[in-house]
Symmetry: C2
Subunit: 322 residues, 2 copies
Amino acid sequence: MTRSAPAGSAVIPGAISWIAVDWGTSRLRVFAMDANDRPIASASSDKGMGQLSRDAFEEALAELVSGWLADGPRPMIACGMVGARQGWIEAAYGPVPGPALSETGLVRAPATDPALALRILPGLAQQEPADVMRGEETQIAGFLSAHPGFDGLLCLPGTHSKWARLKDDQVLSFRTYMTGEMFALLSGHSVLRHSLAAAADMSETSGSRFVEGLDRARALRGNLSADLFSIRARGLLQGFTPVEAFDYLSGLLLGAELTAAAETDADLPVALIGSGPLGARYRQALGHFGRDAAMMDTTDATLAGLTAACHTLKEAGEWPAI
Amino acid sequence: MTRSAPAGSAVIPGAISWIAVDWGTSRLRVFAMDANDRPIASASSDKGMGQLSRDAFEEALAELVSGWLADGPRPMIACGMVGARQGWIEAAYGPVPGPALSETGLVRAPATDPALALRILPGLAQQEPADVMRGEETQIAGFLSAHPGFDGLLCLPGTHSKWARLKDDQVLSFRTYMTGEMFALLSGHSVLRHSLAAAADMSETSGSRFVEGLDRARALRGNLSADLFSIRARGLLQGFTPVEAFDYLSGLLLGAELTAAAETDADLPVALIGSGPLGARYRQALGHFGRDAAMMDTTDATLAGLTAACHTLKEAGEWPAI
């Protein structure tokens, strides 16, 4: 069941208890939450961290939430790249191993209008191998609030996919895979762009070429360096269609990620936080590699994580102080 | 010894016996050759195949060679992407296994001025695994004319590196590695662009991080999917400098290529066609992996290959007919 509220829906400000903010590199999404921590309205814009100078964050937030604050301020809490060094204000990383939501490191954004002084959750940093996340730690916390004590691997697909090893409600370790960004670079900016269908023209996966790519990546143990160009050559020599090429490249890249991620902890259960076609591809790929994974919706996980952060603040007596 | 002539040097048209043309995706280079097949002048422009519509090739060529044709036409022969489907005119691929310079497939470009009717050499195509080359086959022919009977692997670094298995003066098989393009994409367009020095700011390789990247790629057996993002994280967490990051990424990508290319034919000698900093990096990487490689200069190889093509045409009685 997805808890996402319809975008732009009218809502009575008095029904809003707090505001959840998911502020990534490319998108800003806000959710009006009721007293039962359910979203009753949502809005979004393309004013992600990557598009904003430091002094533009407050206005970008005001654009989406000011209507909800008509009868007074509400506590607001955010996760994501808004807390990066290049964001509104830096929220220091919490350590790994450790809890998904660090008990220290929460910061208040400096705002001209005190009603817009957003709380921002810290990300997580791992020293060896060096790795960082911002935003996914909140989804992990949301997943753990729904599945307390989960002992296994959690996969979070995206531009930079994360794989986290969870145990005893802690993040023991994690790794980042640039799979989504690599697909975007290869399909949009490399010589392969001539060979691939646009994502918008992909209705459903063709299936067989995707699976062929998965199997090929596994056979190559994830070393794709000699195989990427074959997509171009198969188009020139063998009539490989743009849809087939898209699916094959997708299979190769996901297959390399899964081959690396599955090398350790081969016997542990795997769960997935995902949605839409990308979530479906990961689920299919995991199933093909014999790792059937339960999937939690991405927005549900984010809202559950922000809710968990609210409850922690309440227990510490720091909520709902605006 | 490099045979390259100084660019733009004045030359007496009567001393020119024929004209060698290296016409790739991004550059057009022409060489005035004397009766002993030595370059006595050269010129170049950025009018590569990728920048030209079909009707713009003749003028792009005329711009560089018309001064050399003052007292009459000269035979001209070209290799490279000028013969691609999107080029001036398509020169069909020769088969692999087979000779580097196919005896069929040479085409004449359609030109308004008959003096500009360039001969274009075909590329090579391999059916399984599917692969193609255009331009490198001429360098291979040039290498074989200097090293007849070479039995081993020939590595041709570039945007799309090629590795060819040579024996009995034939190309038995080859593979393409998108290493150079991948480096350009990751360093110029991915999240790693924030972490890497610009190529122009790299005077010499720092050495140690390059070797660390090579070793890491080998340890990962070339599956880089979990390791690329660590470059960003090491910059954020561990003070990894932009020069170190450049060298490490270069090492990772070359290491993955060499790991894949070395999996077969581990006992065969390796030779290299290269020049400049890229050639030096490949030579260092091959040496680090225990494959010391003799290196032939890229331009020398191209001119030797075009010269070999001229001689073949002469023996067939088709040269120097303009």
